[in-house]
Amino acid sequence: MSDATTDDPRHLRAPPRRPIRLSWSDERVRGLVWQVLVVGVVVAIVWWLVRNTAHNLEVRRIATGFGFLGREAGLPIGEHVIDYSPTDTYARALLVGVLNTLKVSVIGIVLATIIGTAIGIARLSRNWLLARLASVYVEVIRDLPLLLQLLFWYTILQGLPGPRQALNPVDGVYLSNRGLKLPWIEWQGAHTAALLALLAGVAGAWLYARWARARQMADGRPRRVWPAAVLLVVGLPLAVWAAMGAPWTVDRPVLRGFNFTGGLTVSPEFFALLVGLVTYTAAFIAEIVRAGILAVNQGQWEAAQALGLRHGQVLRLIVLPQALRVIVPPMTSQYLNLTKNSSLAVAIGYQDIVSIANTTLNQTGQAIEGIAIIMAVYLTISLSISAFMNWYNARIALVER
């Protein structure tokens, strides 16, 4: 028998359309008038601003347009991921800035996630001292402005002894007012190949896991994924590296004259920014992780234990998937915050996109274009991160019947 409502002829008819009356008592007319009014006011304000701006630019003889991007920048940049010299163009300088922003953001996000998760779990620990310490950390860090913390860390790093009296906590690692020096391998073609092999291995392992899962869904037999995964992720890069002659020369920092040579340098600016961003964001992430774990019902733990799952299995198979659903949306906004907060770099002299765009607009006088570039870069990054996290969130979201 079909549903009663679909048979009812009254429901088959669309509701009658009322003709629009030209009267204030008609809701649609009111809505239209309000919208026209508001949009009109906004357009008028924008038009007024644009006209003023155009006039002011003309009076002050400020050039407009992005023509300056092709000109020689002449601004020195201390840290660059890609090759750069002051004779390069503004466009390349800005690209270096974007890459510097991305560098500190990506490393910061990874570290903040790891440290934040650890602190969040520590706050839930049954060890009273550990839990108290973690909560004091969270409370203190969250109640101090990030900019203050950055200046604090930068001051501390600047107050360190010079290279000659550098702190040497572990052999080969030097901490001085010139930054952090780490031993590093001499990068050769084989290492790049091994890195590519690692990426290929990760992709291969992921595909294999998917295939194994699909097979399990089809015939019900579970398959071991980890031997193949280890082979692909660890074995493949090692094999490639060994096949290319296994080059391994450690490049150690050595004190020559007034500074170190060799090794990997982490500049004090980058180091202070990274430490500040990571400690600050980790406190917020800790709270999110704690709330997420607490949000999983205690009954889920008990039910899983009753099924005979081990502690790790309970965490991995039962609790974490459910906690992630609560954790991911606020975590996204923390990642976005960290990326946006990296713009505070300008205060301690790390040359990120804001710093370089600011120098650019001071040199060229083209304020509008400079700020437009900053905003465009951050909007792109923000939208990309939120698009990715929305996709991830949709994947792990509760699938309801």
Binding site: Q35, N56, L129, L148, Q158, V346, V354, L383
Partner: protein, 436 residues
Amino acid sequence: MAPADTTTRVQLETAVALVPGEASAPRSPPMTAAGPVAWLRANLFSSWLSTAVTLLLIYLIARWTIGFVEWAFVNAIWEVPNNQTQACRELKGIGACWAVVTEKHRFILFGTYPYEEHWRPALVILLFVALYVVSAMRRFWRKELVTVWAGALTLIGILMWGGNTAPGLLPQPWEQLLALALLLGAGFAYVRGWIGMVWPTAALVYALLAWVGPVLDMPYVSQERWGGLPITLILATFGLAFAFPLSILVALGRRSSLPAIKTLCVLYVELIRGVPLISLLFMASVMFPLFLPEGMNIDKLLRAQIAIILFAGAYLAEVVRGGLQALPKGQYEAADALGLTYWQKTGLIVLPQALRLVIPPLVNTFIGFFKDTSLVLIIGIFDLLTAGKTAIVEPAWQGFGVEVYVFVGVIYFMFCFAMSRYSQNLEAELNRHRRR
């Protein structure tokens, strides 16, 4: 019969004697199940891992505490005679040089405000704190709070600028009398319920302007000389006071069924939230002057304030929208069924409930803005953090940044910690009906 009787009685007495708490004194549980020892066992030494963690942490905490006490108190220097910092430099970092704070605390707190007028910003700070405390008390959560805010913010303006803001505006005696009469009349009419709250509020502001300035007779201090903690409080408080109404309008607009208004609000919120505050502040400092017609100039502080209001408005709008969404649909429908207009529905039914729901997140957002006002350092406005940073520019005091930042940090921490504790208590209190 008799022996049997005795046996029963004996049995009965034994049974009575065995009832706990009747014949025998109450016994405390064994030491391993309750009391400090049991607490220690359960919370600090429950397993070998837990014990190891506890011992390690005790060691670390003890080391840090001793180190900190030695640095901050034992080896510290509290005062040096007229900027002679050699004694501090000879410490070489093993002790704090609090002399920099002793010497510069007025500068850090009040910036370049004229020295002999420092009582005015000090009073302003107290006024702000009093305003926060009053606003935080639930018994004062009523419409009259708006009047209190209007009065307090007017008073703050008068104190900061001083009496003779513009000589032509100095009130005449008859104006003062008129203001007093208006205030009394409006107050009386309001108490009798004849008029709304707007009139007494306006009368109060007018009366304050007419009386406080001339009576205290303070010299004029221009905004360029303001600085330190009052600037931080002004940026945060005025920012919130203006951003909050804006955010309510935007949140309502975002939930509106009118597509054009909705699009505008979504664009505003997402654009502002997608970019860092610094870019807005840069915009305020270098682009606003280009936006305005020639000859019209807005003060730098006001431009930063506008940027902060626009920024805070977008974030608060999302918080308010959360409250609007959390309200059951039945409330909207019931209001419609009563035949209320949109603004009656919004003002009388929706907002009072929705805003109550979001008070704790609103306080948290406010903590965020309070901290974010420190970003004005980057465009050179003299707030608390900028004052701290500037205090150590002088060659004699260079290198004592840590001490100054600790001092500034303690001030920020006091404000933010109070707000955060308040928000936690409030949340617990407002959720009391949901707890079992």
